[in-house]
Symmetry: C2
Subunit: 182 residues, 2 copies
DNA sequence: TGCCAATCTCTTGATGTCAAGATAACTATT
DNA sequence: AATAGTTATCTTGACATCAAGAGATTGGCA
């Protein structure tokens, strides 16, 4: 089931401990799910280090990336940001306020629908983001550099399959319904 | 590079947006790193739902799992828990205190070295954990059920390769040095 | 037209986490 | 012994996040 060719990692260590302590249990799903969770945490540390060089938090980069990705004029409503970033509306308010204080985004009320706010990236925000993004992508490339082309292709394919198992299709804007298990 | 056989997921959507907005940038690393991060968040929601059925937070399950995994007599020092769980000592203190209040663990000072504390799972804690773990593993199996055996094997192998790229070898007890790149 | 339900943003209070440092206990060297 | 450095745990203050709901605005339907 698991290849013997690769060096055992920390999750292999966990699995071995469980095999000793609870040999009656089948803990094999952890080989996938536990690894995804652990790898995400390890990756985050590496990504944060580069964001810090630009005096940015990962969540600040995230907000700005979402605005840039949206295309010109690089503005979205708080509600759209909620859904894109898998966070609650209170968190979005907080993030926008902080970024506004730093001069990276501005708030503007919609004229037609006065409930709506438009969050727009400022020139200063765009400049910081563009610089950070280049470094961020270099960092990501550096992290993946030890992987063979075959391993990268396998990762993309199998991770996409896992996305499918989780129902994360391409028109899922990012929203996640908590405690609503289909 | 990326297979065309699988249904596009949300990350494919992001990549397409970047291809439109910044065609000059090579954002292909996101196909792996972005997916791992997103999948971890999506998985966490699914795992939390089952923990909630046992009135447990994921971090409570984590602490108890670490103690059980350690083997009889199911006790570890706070420092060991820090390192196993990739959290800071302050967080560990808080977690132990909360679990102690719920009667799931006890603190005991070491007789020989009075700096040291032993955190031990209580019978009540062990009973709750054992029940939750069975449900948790069932949940993980259910999540992975849509995946073919081939996809699962690919996932394990390629994720382990990514562990290797991140230097997460089997004697990495869980400790992560922040901002100490190489 | 007037009102009710839906929509959108923001507020509040609680919680888990971290960084930095305080406190206590041990160890090695003199 | 005495002291300095090391180790282990806990404390403090700041902060990002969430759940729940408040406040404001809009749109549909009587």
């Amino acid at each position: 089931m698991t290849s013997e060719t690769d060096k055992p990692d920390a999750v292999d260590g966990y699995l071995a401990q469980w095999a000793t302590e609870r040999p009656d249990l089948d803990v094999s799903p952890m080989a996938i799910i536990g690894r995804v969770s652990r790898l995400a945490a390890l990756l985050q540390v590496r990504l944060d280090a580069v964001f810090a060089e630009y005096d940015l938090q990962a969540w600040e980069f995230d907000v700005m990336a979402t605005l840039v990705r949206a295309g010109s004029p690089h503005e979205l409503s708080p509600g759209s940001l909620d859904r894109s970033m898998m966070i609650t509306s209170g968190t979005t308010t907080h993030r926008i306020t902080k970024l506004e204080q730093r001069g990276f985004v501005t708030r503007r009320r919609d004229e037609d629908d006065k409930r709506v706010v438009h969050v727009m990236l400022t020139d200063a925000g765009r400049m910081v983001f563009d610089a950070a993004q280049v470094a961020h992508l270099e960092n990501e490339r550096r992290i993946l550099e030890p992987l063979s082309e075959q391993h990268r292709a396998m990762l993309v394919n199998s991770l996409r399959a896992l996305s499918g198992a989780l129902g994360d299709d391409s028109d899922a804007t990012g929203a996640v319904q908590k405690h609503k298990s289909a």
